[in-house]
Amino acid sequence: MLLFVCYIVCYMYMKVGGVFLNILVLIPAYNEEKSVASVISQVRHYVPGADILVINDGSTDATSEKAVGAGAMVVNLPYNLGIGGAMQTGYLYAKYHCYDIAIQVDADNQHDPSYIHKLIQPIIDNSADMVIGSRYIKETVYKSSAARRTGMVFFTILIKLLTDKWIKDTTSGYRAVNKNIISFFALNYPVDYPEVDVLVKLYRKKFRIMELPVEMKARKTGRSSITPIRSVYYMIKVTLSLVIETIKTIEE
């Protein structure tokens, strides 16, 4: 029923609004009051035609107020859901409001909004369904710890084994998706650590994934939520999830 209403609204909008595409920038934020306003203003500078939705994942600081003050739309979750639940909220919003393109930009200022145009271009051209902004294709200034790089390599190899695709930056949240994937994510989005998980899910559904090099900045404000113990737990959990996901593939 909701889908039906959505189609009617989209149809009416297209007739009235013309041909240009609706772009939604999704900014999931958990206690990022120091950087969120800066990210929003940068996005507005580089992509003035896009709408911005900040998903406040139960922040206990002034993230929500800062976001509203910077001119973004804000959704306040009643309690913390994690990146998976928060992003799915964003995709639900994108689906209900019939956006054509949704792009995730982190609130900690690690993602450089000047690359947004580059990332959404293949979607506009319909040469890809999802475009990932990757730190590791070209030599970039971004520096990460040895532990992180080991983890990255591990996941890249795992993804290669399971999907036969080389994706160098599997955990990058800097991604743009088209309408079909918005619908898919609105219904299916892993709750825990989704970035790697969805790569296998999307491959199963024959979506086209493209990876483009971008520059990412080191985290300047706030604290990362990944600790060493969590990393190991993460790796086991995601590996298991991917393997089970692939078993699904083989059986169908």
Binding site: P78, Y79, V191, D192, I236, K237, L240, S241, I244, I247, K248
Partner: protein
């Protein structure tokens, strides 16, 4: 001769493991909860695979009947897992309470806005 507690244990572990994976595959069980079940199946499988481990551990704990150790392990694991689950349920109760409150407040807001529009 063939049908002893070890072979039953191994068979059970394998069936259990397959069942858990199936449930996760069909989205009836979330991955984060399946991890502990899979871990248990694997440990049970290892313990049942050779009497040596059980005998050594049983000796150490002065259990007269080594296979009893398998049951001890199973019971203790279930107890701990149950406790863990009750903490999960507690957290979920809080979230549900919070959701009910938010919905009630939203309804109030929507209804009061409708009333205002009435004027």
């Amino acid at each position: 001769m063939f049908f002893n507690v070890y072979s039953v244990s191994i068979t059970f572990s394998i069936i259990f493991l397959v069942a858990v994976i199936e449930l996760v595959r069909k989205n009836k069980l979330q991955e984060r909860y399946s991890l502990l079940w899979i871990l248990m199946s694997i440990v049970l499988l290892i313990l049942s695979s050779t009497p040596i481990i059980i005998n050594t551990l049983a000796d150490w704990l002065e259990i007269k009947n080594p296979p009893s150790f398998l049951f001890l392990f199973g019971l203790v694991y279930l107890l701990i897992y149950n406790l863990h689950l009750t903490t999960v349920v507690s957290r979920q109760s809080e979230k549900i309470t919070r959701l009910a409150q938010e919905i009630a407040l939203l309804k109030q807001k929507v209804e009061s806005e409708k009333e205002n529009e009435g004027y």
